[in-house]
């Protein structure tokens, strides 16, 4: 339909990474077909939006006016929804998640499911709301107003001052004060300076940056232009991983649209200020998320970190002063300019201002994307927003900060989420991964899993990270295989502490975190593995044994499913498992109807 006509209805279909899997495209086709059937196509605008965050409930469709959220439905429900909602003006209440309305700070009402109630969306304020491919949509939510304000009313130093005042800290993980970074770069002599957006999101399971760009690419662009103005740069680069084709496509379109509107390029908004953006694709190296490695990669070299100082703010890309911030940091900038530093700093804690986006994953009911004010506790995120642990299981640990974060047990659940508190709890903010683990997780195995990732992704430059994590991984592997030795836990701690303090870059400095934090918080589990050769979670297969007890009725079901013929016994006689032949696959236990098979 024609965008210039105000539509009667707006149907927003979430097209985030998770909803794509749940066939958002086919959903759109089906909606279109149904609208056609009722002759409503001309009166309705359909938007494929970025991630709304309700990934566990997908697919998600919002019908406006009324902000009715339909979720978790099937494509065959579409005719019913369209007919009931748009033609008969009722709701298909069994598929609606919204029960009553609640005011949200930003622009639109999301709805009150607990999922949104405790959230506050600043960086993701437009994600799931607007059509990310429409610059008009962005303009309609005060898009580029911050840029206009900066260019017409503010001197570059005023912008830097505002950033310093607001208390924003880098969302990439380390939490360096953004305003300080801006002012350090602004102080450097020009004329050539660069602005970089780090969109090389590499943490397994994390999709904050991806969703931010896919859902609202213009806000990143606007933030970067403001940054360029503040520090005196005329060139910006978005370094984004090539595995994010949709984000790249939307960003490319947004850049082209912004250029066409005179919001990028020469003489922006007739202000005399010129700034342009370029996209560079990363080839999928985790370490390239580290700023100095990222800069090397843009320069066409192998992405390996270099010692700092000099910091990029002094000597960055091609040896020029460079301002590098991550996607989420950039996305906060327009809001800070529009609503002011004092408003922004009213959100959050004393030292950590604003909000933080997390990718909630693991053993939690509502997996997905959440943005909460700093200071929200882990318990609120996991239980109130995340809906708690599924299947009635017990919470065991939560890991924040991606593969190099620490694992915190139950006693840390009331830890407020901010840079310092998480650090004190033995973890890190990181870029925003949050993985919840229930009692079925083996903490030794979890530590091994994360270390395997960081060891593989180590660039190999510095000794502690390259060699040290390898030895730690060997020790962990040996423990999970039942070959652990008494002094292994001490060795892990000794190596881990050294690697943390001696490595060249953040990757190595944080790689031992999962190991050190699990030893600190779950030491007895390590000791059981080493001393008793037992894995209480039943994950480490080498440490498991299956036996058949007196409940056995001799039905033979287990014998038939055993892939290695390890079970013997006559009909109606108690059967026996030969441990030498058993490969500990657990099939027999699953099959047995009499609970006669026990794992120990």
């Amino acid at each position: 339909m024609n965008n210039n006509v105000t539509p009667d209805y707006i149907i927003t279909i979430c097209d985030g990474p998770s909803c794509i899997h749940k066939k958002s495209k086919e959903l759109k086709e089906s909606v279109t077909a149904q609208l056609k059937r009722f002759g409503l196509l001309d009166k309705t605008r359909i938007i494929l939006s970025g991630c709304l965050g309700m990934c566990a409930k997908g697919p998600v469709m919002i019908i406006n006016p009324g902000y009715t959220i339909y979720a978790g439905f099937n494509i065959i429900d579409v005719p019913e929804i369209i007919e009931e909602h748009l033609v008969k003006k009722t709701q298909v209440s069994r598929l609606v998640v919204q029960e009553d309305n609640l005011y949200n700070r930003f622009y639109r009402v999301f709805g009150d499911v607990n999922f949104f109630g405790k959230q506050m969306r600043i960086a993701l304020r437009n994600c799931g709301i607007i059509d990310p491919e429409s610059i008009d949509d962005y303009l309609s939510v005060r898009g580029y107003e911050a840029l206009a304000k900066v260019l017409s009313d503010m001197q570059p130093q005023d912008v830097v001052q505002e950033l310093k005042k607001c208390g924003l800290r880098g969302r990439g993980g380390a939490g360096f004060p953004t305003g300080l970074k801006w002012s350090l770069t602004a102080e450097q002599p020009g004329p050539e300076k660069f602005v970089i957006c780090n969109a090389d999101e590499g943490d397994p399971g994390a999709f904050m940056d991806r969703s931010a760009i896919e859902g609202d690419p213009h806000t990143v662009i606007e933030g970067m232009v403001i940054g360029g103005y503040a520090i005196g740069a005329s060139k910006g680069i978005v370094y984004i991983r090539a595995e994010y084709p949709l984000a790249i496509k939307r960003l490319e379109k947004a850049i082209a649209d912004a250029r066409a509107e005179g919001l990028l390029g020469a003489n922006i908004l007739d202000s005399g200020f010129s700034f342009d953006l370029e996209i560079r694709l990363g080839a999928g190296a985790f370490v390239c998320g580290e700023e100095t490695a990222l800069i090397q990669s843009i320069e066409g070299r192998r992405g390996m970190p270099r010692p700092r100082p000099p910091y990029p703010s002094v000597k960055g890309l091609f040896g020029k002063p460079t301002l590098i911030n991550n996607v989420e940091t950039w996305a906060n900038i327009p809001v800070i300019i529009l609503d002011g530093a004092s408003w922004f700093s009213s959100v959050g804690t004393e030292k950590s201002k604003g909000t933080k986006v997390f990718a909630l994953a693991g053993n939690v009911v509502n997996t997905g994307l959440v943005e909460v004010p700093m200071g929200t506790t882990l318990r609120e995120i996991i239980y109130d927003i995340g809906g708690g642990i599924p299947d009635g299981k017990q919470f065991k640990a939560v890991q924040t900060g991606g593969p190099s974060g620490g694992c915190m047990p139950e006693q840390y659940l009331d830890t407020p989420v901010d840079y310092e508190s998480l650090q004190q709890a033995g973890s890190i903010m990181g870029s925003g991964g949050m993985i919840v683990m229930d009692e079925g997780a083996c903490m030794v195995n979890i530590a091994r899993f994360f270390l395997e990732f960081t060891q593989n992704e180590s660039c190999g430059k510095c000794t502690p990270c390259r060699e040290g994590t390898k030895r730690m991984l060997e020790i962990l592997t040996r423990i999970t295989e039942g070959k652990g030795e008494a002094e292994d836990i001490d060795k892990l701690e000794r190596l881990g502490r050294m690697i943390k303090k001696a490595s060249l870059c953040g990757l190595g400095q944080s790689a031992p975190n999962p190991v050190l934090s699990t030893i600190a918080n779950f030491r007895e589990e390590y000791e059981e593995h080493v001393r008793d050769k037992k894995c209480r979670a039943g994950v480490c297969t080498a440490l498991l044994s299956y036996t058949i007890n007196e409940k056995c009725v001799g039905c033979g079901a287990c014998k038939r499913v055993c892939p290695t013929a390890a079970i013997s016994g006559a009909v109606k006689q108690r059967h026996v498992i030969d441990p030498a032949k058993c490969v500990r696959c657990g099939k027999c236990m699953e099959t047995c109807k009499f609970n006669a098979i026990v794992r120990g």
Binding site: A285, V287, R302, M304, R306, P307, P309, Q455, N456, E457, S458, C459, G460, K461, C462, T463, P464, R466, E467, G468, T469, K470, R471, E474, K491, R494, L495, M498, K500, K501, A502, S503, L504, Q509
Partner: protein, 590 residues
């Protein structure tokens, strides 16, 4: 006056210059912080983490090689914690290193070994899987043994920053990280020039020269052949270091005597053929000047440089002198002129070159340098290999009675000696060219502007009323830079000397390893070696190549005059463009 700051090392205050690293400050006040990947001629890598120190207020240790001092900084270099961390780091390096010190070529002269000892590493905790790789034996000059590589990156930085050949780079991640040429191809296919500087800077035995000592020992026992050696100028200036002497002692006589003890029948002096090179090269220059030939003329003595030129600057091949290197001239004369003199079938002559260079091994294998179907040089051994052979054969090098080179290919002028130092060929050539051109003897023969270790040196000489502008570059990086100047301004110079190694041949890839208290490629060491050669020059009564009576005799008896047909047959060669893989553009051409 540089700004000063007060810093505390281990709680003691010291006034040090600002704008320097913790390591530099520590060195100056007498704290030698252990180190491995650091090298003063190369960029800061900060990779090995051996040089970590504690700085109060910093959450983590800092690499002292990279971190600048600041006012009031409190640095701790030897706390219990930092000592254990450093020790553990070195242990981690050892854990991924072959445990074959006793059979390793660098046993006793290995930086890693020394470091492990100094760290007090007496017990092992973390042993596990070790990397396994094949050796790369493909190059005629240099062997790469990735198993021994500890990834300090010195070779990578040297090859890209000093030599600018960019042969080596890091590949793969994590524990699988490795140093290799592009696509892990053999060094022989790569852009490697064979200069061997990677061997010099490698702290372990990950790079070594292609070793011919066993083969030479065998062939020295063959009663059927006549064993002839030649010794390059720079060998005598450095070989003493392999026996624990300070750099700078010229030991020509000892080398001749030791080679004779080893089993050589005759020992000739490469300085003689250096004189001959000057005769030919100076004449070629004059001819080009007079007949409007291609200028500037560029020297061709350095084997690594010739490979570099053929692959990176093929457009400048017409500028290069057609003269063979002194080694190949000597080989050619040994198997023709001298074989005739002693009435021997040249096939029965074993011609061995003792060189300061690894690339000469590659040069000896070049097919265009063969004479009458035979290799002009049968085997090339480096200064290091020669020293090892002397030790292995039980020759008391330090106390041996010096002997003289054999005639007639053993007499040389002082000009032949200074060939070994950067600028020396140019200086020697000017001494002769001046006289050939003007008929007058050049009196001011020590051309200071061409000496020393500045990367690119320039000079001017007036010859017959014409100003001859010359330039000298040493190290392939400087050479590349100079070639860009030539392309931009072809009129700027008439004559250019290039040596592939920093300092010239005295800094060659085959020279003795740095001793336990020094560093590879130390400029002070190079300066002393050069001084030894300048001393030989000053002590010589003959200081101009054309005054060498044996050179005069060989022209009378065999060659006629410089650039004669016979000269061209024996002493000149040709070069052709090479397209090794790994140069951008070559892949797409295929």
């Amino acid at each position: 006056m540089k700004e000063k700051v007060i810093v505390y090392f281990n709680n003691k205050p010291f006034e040090v210059e600002a704008e320097q690293t913790i390591m530099q400050a520590a060195d100056k006040i007498g704290f030698h912080i252990p180190r491995l990947c650091y090298h003063p001629s190369l960029s800061i890598e900060g990779a090995c983490r051996v040089c970590i120190v504690e700085v109060e207020g910093m959450r983590n240790y800092v690499a002292s090689c990279a971190f600048p001092v600041s006012e009031g900084m409190r640095i701790h270099t030897n706390t219990k914690e930092i000592r254990q961390a450093r020790r553990d780091i070195v242990e981690l390096i050892l854990d991924n290193h072959p445990q074959d010190c006793h059979t390793c070529e660098r046993d006793g002269i290995c930086e890693l070994q020394r470091l492990a000892y100094a760290m007090g590493l007496r017990q092992r905790h973390f042993e596990g899987e070790r990397k396994r790789y094949e050796k790369d034996l493909s190059s005629a000059a240099v062997i790469r043994d990735p198993e021994k590589c500890i990834l300090c990156g010195r070779c990578v930085r040297l090859c890209s920053e000093v030599q600018k050949a960019n042969t080596l780079g890091f590949a793969h991640r994590g524990f699988k990280a490795n140093v290799m040429p592009a696509y892990d191809m053999g060094l022989n296919e790569s852009v490697c020039t064979g200069c061997g500087q990677c061997v010099n800077v490698c702290p372990t035995a990950a790079f070594l020269e292609k070793n011919y000592t066993q083969e030479l020992f065998e062939r020295l026992n063959d009663p059927e052949v006549i064993k002839v050696a030649q010794v390059a100028p720079s060998v005598r200036a450095a070989i003493g270091e392999a026996f624990g002497l300070e750099p700078g002692r010229a030991m020509a006589g000892e080398t001749v005597a030791a080679l004779k003890r080893l089993g050589f029948d005759y020992v000739f002096d490469t300085q003689f053929s250096a004189d001959l090179t000057i005769m030919e090269e100076a004449s070629e220059l004059l001819e080009r000047l007079q007949s409007g030939g291609k200028l500037p003329m560029i020297t061709s003595c350095s084997s690594a440089w010739m490979k570099c030129l053929e692959q990176f600057h093929p457009d400048l091949i017409p500028n290069v002198s057609t003269c063979k290197s002194p080694m190949s001239m000597m080989g050619a004369l040994t198997k023709t002129y001298w074989a005739d003199k002693i009435k021997t079938d040249p096939k029965k002559i074993l011609a061995v070159a003792v060189m300061c260079c690894t690339a000469k091994k590659y040069e000896a294998a070049r097919p265009e340098l063969r004479v009458n179907g035979m290799p002009a040089t049968d085997l090339v051994i480096t200064t290091r290999e020669a020293a090892w052979m002397f030790k292995s054969a039980g020759i008391d090098f330090l106390n041996i009675k010096p002997e003289r080179f054999d005639e007639p290919l053993g007499l040389s002028s002082g000009a032949g000696a200074i060939f070994g130092a950067t600028g020396g060929v140019m200086e020697a050539a000017i001494r002769t060219a001046y006289e050939l051109c003007t008929g007058e003897t050049l009196l001011e023969i020590e051309l200071e502007s061409l000496r020393g270790f500045k990367g690119i040196k320039e000079g001017k000489v007036m010859m017959d009323g014409k100003e001859i502008r010359v330039a000298v570059a040493h190290g392939l990086g400087n050479a590349n830079e100079l070639m860009d100047v030539v392309r931009a301004d072809p009129e700027r110079y008439h004559f250019i000397e290039i040596m592939g190694c920093p300092g010239g041949c005295i800094g060659g890839g085959g020279q003795p390893y740095a001793g336990s208290n020094s560093i590879p490629l130390d400029e002070e060491c190079l300066r002393k070696r050069a001084e030894a050669l300048y001393g030989i020059d000053r002590a010589n009564t003959i200081r101009r190549s054309h005054e060498n009576p044996h050179v005069q005799r060989i022209y009378k008896e065999l060659l006629g005059r410089p650039l004669s047909k016979k000269s061209h047959e024996l002493l000149h060669t040709h070069y052709s463009a090479k397209e090794p893989r790994g140069i951008i553009g070559n892949e797409t051409k295929e």
